[in-house]
């Protein structure tokens, strides 16, 4: 059992141990503590498992998120197969995923000057909602947002036009100004043998 149970750091503090920019003094403080405190040693293990699991999910292409090129670069390094589409406001793209794709990435171009966050929703022409997210962070002056979806999820989507709408984020997500709309003519899941044949 531990002999020093005082001043236990929080789970989040312990998780900072696994970040790349934790200060050397903080590393030393955490290490000294976990070698005296069995409970915090377990929490540090949990934090390690959590961040490892996040990485595993990303590597498996099982993430749906707005990301940056840093994440795409890491996916490329990990050998994850990424299919990319890019389109500007009002544009339409015919899109599909192939049998060996892991992740579908859409570069949503636009002028996001003065915008700090957006809400996004995807709807079929029927009006049925396919998904929505709120409070997507936007760097001031950004010219594109990068949206990543698991290819497995896209494969299950119906073959039908889908409209993605970006709004400036406000408390009531339905009332934000429309910034841009993009239309995806989803052509389903394709197989290379079908394409090559």
């Amino acid at each position: 059992m531990s002999t020093l149970q005082t001043s236990c750091p929080s789970f989040s503090d312990l998780a900072e141990y696994w970040t790349t920019d934790i200060a050397p003094a903080d590393i030393e403080r955490i290490e000294r503590h976990i070698f005296e405190c069995q409970r915090c040693a377990r929490l540090l293990t949990e934090a390690d498992q959590l961040r490892t699991a996040i990485g595993d999910l990303a590597q498996a292409g099982a993430i749906q998120a707005f990301v940056t090129d840093a994440v795409l670069n890491r996916l490329a390094r990990d050998g994850v197969r990424v299919r990319s589409y890019a389109l500007g406001p009002g544009e339409t793209v015919r899109c599909a995923v192939w049998a060996d794709d892991d992740v579908l990435v859409t570069r949503l171009r636009g002028d996001f000057t003065g915008i700090t966050s957006v809400d996004a929703e995807m709807r079929f022409d029927t009006g049925e909602e396919w998904g929505q997210v709120t409070d997507v962070p936007v760097r001031n002056g950004a010219t594109e947002l990068v949206f990543a979806l698991p290819a497995s999820l896209v494969r299950k989507a119906p073959n039908a036009p889908m409209r993605l709408t970006l709004r400036s984020a406000v408390a009531d997500s339905t009332s934000g100004n429309v910034l841009a709309e993009y239309v995806f003519h989803h052509e389903g899941a394709l197989d290379r043998r079908t394409r090559d044949g």
Partner: protein, 244 residues
């Protein structure tokens, strides 16, 4: 990787040797050095009687770290196997975490845990740990020394293994139940979009707080707050989904 300790799979100690200890103040409460005088042998004999007769014996799993260390230091080889196993169970995962942080390699971290615990137990047995109550500090210090040694390209494993004469159980190390994708995926999906992006940039893309702040057009402080909130939320979610 050779395996030298029974129970290194993380299970509680239940192998050969005493499966209980006496807390400080009991019969094993003071450090005893091996290979000493007749007086110590008499002391050990008394201690054995004490083990059998005293009522303050408690399970090893409930003993303080220092008590385990003193138990090992006071025992002959093979006599404190259970205490050694319990000490290994407690500290090997911590050394492994330390190793992974500083060596960035799971295999190397596993090896480090083996090597450090070999040294620690060997030195405890030899009576070379002067403050058994500070065994945590000793394990950390040994870990630091060995990581520094590895960085200098020193290979000490062969010599250490030659010094150690203990058990040879073949069990893979484990830190318990790992988080599986099925449990964590819904929790990651449930956090706010902004926070999910922060988690991915932190723990997958391995970007610094300042780099993330720059990429998302916000401050480092806001990134830290978002990460703290996301981790707390995920932990709650994972706990709620823990199999009963």
């Amino acid at each position: 990787m050779s395996r030298d300790f029974p129970g290194q799979d993380g299970s509680p100690a239940r192998s050969a040797g005493k499966s209980y200890c006496h807390q400080r103040g009991g019969a094993t409460g003071s450090p005893v050095r091996r290979g000493a005088s007749l007086a110590i042998d008499v002391f050990r004999a008394r201690r054995y009687v004490s083990h059998v007769t005293r009522s303050n014996a408690i399970p090893l799993a409930a003993c303080e770290d220092g008590v385990l260390a003193r138990e090992i230091a006071a025992s002959d080889a093979g006599e404190a196997t259970a205490a050694e196993t319990e000490l290994y169970r407690r500290f090997a995962p911590r050394v492994r975490l330390y190793g992974y942080k500083h060596l960035s390699d799971r295999g190397a971290a596993d090896d480090l845990a083996q090597q450090v615990m070999l040294v620690v137990i060997t030195r405890l047995r030899a009576g070379e740990v002067h403050e058994p109550d500070q065994i945590g500090s000793f394990v950390l210090g040994t870990s630091r020394m060995m990581v520094a040694g590895q960085r200098r390209g020193e290979s000490r494993r062969a010599a250490l293994h030659a010094r150690f004469d203990a058990q040879d159980a073949m069990v893979q190390p484990s830190d318990g139940v790992a988080l599986d994708r099925e449990r964590i995926a819904p929790c990651l999906a449930a956090v706010r979009e902004r926070e999910r992006t922060i988690l991915l940039l932190t723990f997958y893309a391995e970007k610094s707080t300042n780099e993330i702040a720059d990429a998302l057009g916000t401050t480092a402080g806001a990134i830290r707050v978002g990460r703290h909130r996301a981790l707390a939320s995920m932990r709650d979610c994972i706990e709620a989904r823990r199999p009963s």
